[in-house]
Symmetry: C2
Subunit: 417 residues, 2 copies
């Protein structure tokens, strides 16, 4: 007699949803599929030779430390290096302001653990990073969405939302922000929007959680400062990762915050996994100390710039009138909007089975379930050739389902199917 496990589940477990992205990764591992679904870096950017050298040196010179437990805060040498890494963006920090995490996803879980009770309110962008929504949803909070435009979060709407909540006697615990080349939209917040968000956070006494994994992958334009640099962590928590600049396989993420806040995060992480692997931390510290990451950034950026350009060209060439997309200045993703009557979820099965192309449906990024006509496309993993062919397949699918009103005004430049 098998026991019924559902009778044992916590309320949180009942409310969890499997990540659509993760489930899709399985779907798209079969041959022939061109996947714009994942968020994988291009393995060609991995510094394999340098990692071989550094790893050998770590095992030769410091195995007794690198193979042992380390403190929950993380390798002090790596935390020093991360303070130096963030200094290039105007962030003032010492190792006391840094906690090492398993990717920035663990940082999201820690933020939620330390700040959120069931029923609490937080502010998220529409759209927002799916992994963030998933982490917060496990704590059964209310996520209130604020729309985004091409300059970042709509601070006029943010002000309205905060005023409305205050009127109900409710104070959001934090505003969740992905201000640089947002996953999923590719949008970067202007400095004005960053300043205004901080001003509003001060006025309504809430925090800002700045999730910034893509900042270094900038193709063009000038970088506004991180939100954290604008208040030096007064009410901002900063999350980042080496998954896009070094490789994801080491899972090196980190949080930066005021010392008292880091202390709370450390206590939470103790119960969650004691510490992150000393081995991968020692390797990452050495990669920083030898300036390998710094030196490689231009190469990595060049690879992804060329891929973004390939995707923009292919979209321009293939997509019919009525379809729009963002032009990200960096990062790994762009965002496509079909005519509003279309539904990317309804199209996905046909995309995968008939056209051998995959994307992530947009609604998974909207806390309010909207955005059904949108999709996220990743350009970092597929080759330029696959991008060309994949967008051709995707456009063919879209054209097949285009509403009559739109397809009749199809642009002349569109390739017919």
């Amino acid at each position: 007699m098998a026991i019924d496990i559902d009778a044992f589940l916590s309320t949180s477990a009942r409310s969890m949803r499997r990540s659509l992205i993760r489930e899709l990764l399985k779907l798209t591992s079969r041959g022939g599929i061109i996947s714009f679904a994942g968020g994988f870096p291009d393995p060609a950017t991995f510094p394999v030779r340098e990692l071989e050298e550094v790893t050998r040196d770590v095992l030769t010179g410091q195995a007794h430390l690198a193979l042992q437990y380390t403190i929950t805060e993380g390798d002090p040498r790596l935390r020093d290096e991360l303070a130096r890494w963030m200094a290039k963006d105007g962030i003032r920090a010492t190792q006391e302001n840094v906690l090492i995490t398993n990717g920035s996803q663990q940082g999201l879980d820690i933020v939620a653990r330390v700040f959120l009770d069931p029923g609490d309110v937080i502010i998220v962008e529409l759209p927002s990073y799916m992994g963030g929504l998933q982490a917060f949803r496990a704590y059964r909070v209310e996520m209130v969405g604020v729309p985004q435009d091409d300059q970042g979060i709509r601070t006029d709407r943010l002000a309205e939302t905060l005023a409305h909540l205050a009127g109900e006697g409710r104070r959001p615990k934090f505003i969740y922000a992905v201000p640089d080349f947002q996953n999923p939209s590719g949008v970067t917040w202007t400095e004005e929007r960053r300043q205004e968000t901080l001003r509003l956070a001060g006025q309504y006494n809430t925090l800002v959680v700045e999730d910034n994994p893509y900042r270094e992958i900038r193709f063009e334009g000038s970088a506004p400062p991180p939100i954290y640099a604008l208040d030096q962590g007064e009410r901002t928590v900063y999350l980042s990762t080496f998954s896009k600049t070094l490789c994801p396989g080491l899972r090196i993420g980190w949080m930066a915050a005021r010392e008292d806040v880091i202390g709370q995060f450390v206590t939470a992480k103790q119960g969650m996994d004691l510490c992150s692997p000393a081995f991968t931390q020692a390797i990452a510290a050495e990669m920083c100390a030898r300036d390998i990451l710094y030196r490689r950034l231009p190469q990595i950026t060049a690879v992804y710039r060329a891929k973004r350009d390939a995707m923009l060209r292919a979209l321009e060439r293939e997509m019919p009138e009525g379809v729009t997309w963002t032009h990200p200045e960096g990062g790994l993703f762009l965002w496509v909007r079909l005519p509003e009557t279309m539904d990317t979820e309804a199209l996905l099965q046909e995309a995968v089975e008939a056209e051998n192309v995959a994307y992530v449906i947009g609604s998974g990024f909207f806390a309010d379930g909207s955005g059904r006509h949108t999709m996220r496309l990743n350009f970092s993993f597929p080759s330029e050739k696959e991008i060309d062919e994949g967008i051709r397949r995707l456009a063919r699918l879209v054209r097949r389902h285009l509403p009559v009103a739109v397809s009749s005004i199809r642009r002349r430049t569109t390739v017919s199917d």
Copy 2:
């Protein structure tokens, strides 16, 4: 104006306590201290040369996978190897029954996330693993303690407790068990106690969470089967780790459970950190595939057997009458009981500052705050020479504070100070 972070903390964060062990690790890093406090393996047991070879091969042959994201479940090859590893103990599993975690501590957090709501009841041993208590405490559950003797959990008392709770209409979500060379006590459950615990779990429809990190470190005697092997996961969840058999620096832990239960755990881990590092998983898989772990177990066990023997000899030689300790057949720890009127917490500062020796106070392992006269001693990390000297210092401290009634009957064999 600095904001008051306390006003933002979750109820869970307010209830968290920093691990006493972790805090002590900092205290005891200064020179001259002999520490029995941590739970560190002996770095001499780390297979450094083999890791150099395997790591080089992984980077040469599979960098595109080992440096990339992997699925939440973990590297399929490692999960296959873990199924094989557990088979030697009579556990029937396939990779579908296994989830890779960051050490077994993350397994404890996942178990709590998936099964526990605030106010739920769970059963723990008195004493029990402090990291487990810390993980569960973050979920604000009620931990009901059941005493232990030298055969394991007192199943007569467990039956009483379950009956009492049932009488109140309360059903514990699970019984938390560390049945092999328990941390902290070193006690191993007999097979009878394991069977009886499973029978009671069935009778009262609760689960068993078996945390088994030390099983392979057996010095003598015959091993009872894991609890999981007795019901093949019908109502048991199994947690283990390579931290003691390979090294802690890779943070390779895992959970084994029924497929439907693993599915719930995977969903929880997705929101917690997406996946564990592919790099360390690829290395561990290769270490298993080459049978390196299997071959090294006798050496590792021999190192720790000699250290345990050294500690038992020193205790026998140095400790006054009225002090007792366990004789573990394996693992990394033994457990010392001072006369009941003594308080190891009150003595700790003097131990560290005057005698340059450290231990973990026992009360941290008791969910009910009892055990103030007990302490946990680790024998895996210090050298045999340090064990001799450290126990000499500890005994000197104990004798200095021994109640008069006890010190007057001090054994003749005791070395005078």
